[in-house]
Amino acid sequence: MRDINITLNGDPVTVRVEDHWTLLRAIREGMGLTGTKEGCGNGECGACTVILDGRPVNSCMVLAVEAEGREVRTIEGESDGENLSALQQAFIDEGAIQCGFCTPGMVMSARALLMRNPDPSEEEVTEAICGNLCRCTGYKPIVSAILKAARREKKNA
């Protein structure tokens, strides 16, 4: 096992990992943060999406050891304590959450989109979530939620 030092949701942490652990396993088992989900384990569903040095990645496709010295944002970092972000609230308001399993990954992909493009078109939102599968909603409410959140965040900026 070896220790890795990462900045997790803004705070420096040290986690003990095995070389063969994915970042996903380190987040869920090493750090006890189970918001990030394992869907396929193969980089195809996006349920494990986290933001690594500002870029959304499938954490099942990143080795834990590769995160050494980097910034990792997970769904747990999206809210400010008990206060949901505009994105999280918009997901609730638009009915974009049914079973909820894709939701953390969707929110992370959306958050990463708004970080690089605060005023996306509907087409850009659709493109940004192409790597996140949802079996429940048919995607439409998710796209609406992200557009709504973008408008709200822009207004509050």
Binding site: T22, G43, M61, V62, E66, E127, C130, G131
Partner: protein, 283 residues
């Protein structure tokens, strides 16, 4: 779950090569990991030593050389290629192919070198690199060599790279007046390998096509000649015929061979139409 292995981070290419040799035959190079980790999880391979080359300087660069060629470091990610602002003229097919490769998240990890080293017959970057006459430079303990992309792919998931050879960069020569385009047929919008993909380039003496997912390797189909000043649209039928002659598609989980033949016909036509459009429809 990944099988157990020891992780090494190489600081130089020499270190990477040493580690590969020392740990032979149990060592594998790790770039983006989007193919290697999947293979390991599926039990296809289980290297006991993983050698990460992403920290090797120069492997992530994307730059335009003084002669106008585009140099892409083996470890440049697909999104980094998409975000590169100074793409030289005529290389649009490469950008177009990169934009539909996998998903946004995977493009933040998948590398240009890795896409061709993995050598899926359906790889998205193969056809554009073929039509643009790219070259692949690799190093091994015996030195450095450069191969033409047309010699690079040898069979399904196999390349001309020798046992301890590691790609360092890909060079796309200047495309002088050429126009290029790319089309990808997939079952869904989003993450899917190509059912068929097509790259086309027109200029400098002819029409060049690259076809993926229709043979054991990405295919290069050359349609040189033609009348000077002849509109590329006029070459459509001859090009489609040449492509249908060259391909050897199979039935697989994504499509039947018959469907692929039909798609080649449609997609080659469509991609040539895109070329016409890009040339303003006038030429």
């Amino acid at each position: 779950m990944l099988p157990r292995f020891e992780y090494h981070r190489a600081g130089t290419i020499e270190e990477a090569l040493s580690l590969l040799e020392e740990n032979s035959p149990d060592g594998s190079i790790l770039a983006g990991g989007t193919d290697l980790l999947v293979s390991m999880k599926e039990g296809i391979c289980a290297p006991r030593h993983i050698i990460d080359i992403k920290a090797v300087p120069d492997l992530r660069r994307i730059e335009v050389a003084s002669d106008g060629s585009l140099i892409i470091g083996a470890c440049a990610t697909v999104n980094e290629l998409l975000e590169f602002k100074d793409l030289p003229p005529g290389m649009t097919s490469l950008h177009d192919a990169a934009s539909v490769l996998a998903t946004y998240q995977l493009r933040n990890r998948a590398t240009v070198g890795g896409n061709i080293a993995n050598a899926s017959p359906a790889c998205d970057l193969g056809p554009p690199l073929l039509v643009m006459g790219a070259e692949v430079t690799a190093v091994s303990p015996s030195g450095e060599r450069t191969v033409a992309i047309s010699d690079f792919f040898t069979s399904v998931k196999q390349t001309c790279l020798a046992q301890y050879e590691v790609i360092t960069y890909i060079r796309v020569p200047p495309q002088a007046e050429a126009v290029s385009a790319f089309s990808k047929r997939r079952r869904i919008r989003g993450h899917d390998l190509a059912t068929v993909n097509v790259a086309a380039a027109f200029g400098g003496g002819g029409l060049r096509l690259g076809l993926g997912a229709v043979a054991t390797v990405p295919l290069f189909v050359d349609c040189p000649g033609g009348e000077k000043g002849e509109a590329v649209g006029g070459r459509r039928d001859a090009a489609v015929k040449a492509c249908l002659y060259a391909i050897a598609p199979i039935d697989d989980v994504r499509a039947s061979a018959e469907y692929r033949c039909h798609m080649v016909e449609l997609l080659v036509g469509k991609t040539i139409d895109k070329l016409s459009e890009r040339m303003g429809g006038a030429r």
